[in-house]
Amino acid sequence: MQIYLPIADLPVNVFVILAMGLAVGFISGMFGIGGGFLMTPLLIFLGITPAVAVASVTSHIAASSMSGAISYWRRRAIDLALAFMLLAGGIVGTAFGVWLFTTLRAVGQLDITIGVSYVLLLGIVGALMVAESVRAIIRVRQGKPVELRRPGSHTWIHGLPLKLRFKRSRIYVSAIPVWGIGFLIGFIGAVMGIGGGFLLVPLLIYVLRVPTATVIGTSMVLTLVTMASATVMHAATNHLVDAVLALILMVGGVIGAQFGARAGQKMSGERLRLLLGLLVLAVGIRFALDLIVPPENVYSIRPLDTDL
């Protein structure tokens, strides 16, 4: 069934979009990530311009996060205090990221910066996660006890002042690294046009030692707030949010996120981390290939005066 998208200006098959929403929603519910880094390339592949794809995907991510966040809320797996502290840093980071984005575009080096940082970021984060979770799985196989809490493994981060107790996550850490992580996520999100969930989840797990159970729900609340405001910002400034495309993606996304969240709860923490690590690594390699493999056509065209 074909439907003409009013802002993207082209007809698409409703069921293809719905299926894409379902698949990405499932992954997003399972890992507590937005999935923008998966959905945007898929939409561009269908012929939707990058600017419209990025702007419309934000609302799809907001919907998936909302649906997933409610499931985690019922399971009491969300640390609201932590989410608000992260958000505080995130707002500053976003403002700084937007400034850098504008500067880089003025210099004409935005494309290459985005390309290389995608590869580096996804590659490093993915590799680290895979390595760590494989080690954890091997430990479990060998019958050694799972180290849920590592009292001896406190780093310098835990020595910082301004300590706060996050009851739901059962952690007692300084507010400085929390703001710092929020800042980093907001900054990277603004520069690279991604929600940053795939980065937030490992940072919370490895740096703050937040238990995997509360990480995902908390990350979803953060994603919900940032992506809902991004939708409003994109719509107000670029007028490129396609509400019809967004609605189809959302319907698929929220259903997928429900099943994804359930699948995620059934899986062990280290297995979940391994899968997410592999996914992030795969997307990183995909971007690397774009940079390394000689392109089929060295020429490409795009309209003037649109971002991305």
């Binding site: 494309d111 107000a236 490409s300």
Partner: protein
């Protein structure tokens, strides 16, 4: 919209005024099957039909090789950038680019036989007919100049546009139904941008242009598509808020529907 041949024929034969170059004595009349193409939710492209006829009068000279028709359909103008990738430090980056100022977003050149057998190369170039000769001014740093027809950026731009179905040159796109009566179908793929389209019909005989007739049409969004587009353009903030609310409600609704605990 399918062509309604009898109606259009009557319209063509009754048409007055669309004419040019009276010195040669031939008058060219042309009319489209539809001057307003509506883009609705189920728009998947459309084919417009152009009917036209050549009127002769007492001063008309006999033509040795009959008539030839070249129809050029030019869509709304849009500035585009063509990038060329090159390997820098082992990675492929967009190293070079050209801006095409106000390039037509859609371009179709339809004729009854290959352009080079209708008129000579010099004539085609002068009249800017065909994909090889269409003006595509490029901006290189500050000055704007029309590049040579074999410029690699220009060729790549036309190739990509052709692959997208937005540029085409069809040498059998015009059919003569009678010696002085012709029809042409103008394919509009679903990706065509909205805006005003110029249809330029040129009559050739013996290798020279003897008459010309314009016939514009418009592609516009209607109904739901128009409402959404207007809302997004004119009330961006509100539109964004509504879309966000839609996202939150969809998410909440799904969690209620799928609740199992």
């Amino acid at each position: 919209m399918r062509p309604r041949a009898p109606f259009v024929l009557v319209a063509v034969l009754g048409a007055i005024g669309l004419s040019a170059a009276p010195a040669f004595g031939e008058r060219l009349v042309a009319s489209l099957s539809n001057h307003r193409v509506m883009v609705t939710s189920n728009f998947v492209g459309e084919e417009l039909v152009l009917f036209g006829g050549v009127e002769q009068d007492q001063t008309s000279r006999p033509r040795r090789s009959g008539y030839d028709i070249v129809v050029t359909v030019t869509g709304p103008r849009q500035s585009m950038v063509t990038f060329r990738k090159a390997r820098v430090l082992g990675i492929w980056v967009n190293a070079d680019s050209r801006e095409f100022e106000n390039a037509p977003a859609y371009l179709a050149v339809l004729s009854n036989r290959p352009l080079d057998s209708i008129a000579n190369t010099e004539m085609l170039r002068r009249l800017q007919l065909g994909l090889d000769n269409i003006p595509l001014p490029q901006r290189a740093s500050v000055k704007i100049a029309d590049a040579a027809s074999d410029d690699p950026f220009r060729l790549a731009f036309i190739k990509i546009k052709t692959d997208q179905g937005l540029y085409r040159e069809v040498s059998n796109g015009v059919t003569f139904l009678a010696p002085a009566l012709f029809r042409a179908s103008i394919p509009l793929p679903a990706e065509v941008p909205v805006g005003t389209y110029e249809v330029d019909v040129r009559l050739f005989a013996d290798g020279a242009q003897i008459a010309r007739a314009p016939s514009p049409f418009e592609v516009y969004k209607s109904g739901f598509e128009q409402v959404v587009t207007n809302a997004a353009r004119e009330h961006g903030f509100l539109y964004g808020l509504v879309t966000s609310m839609m996202a939150v409600l969809t998410g909440w609704f799904a969690s209620v529907v799928f609740r199992r605990d």
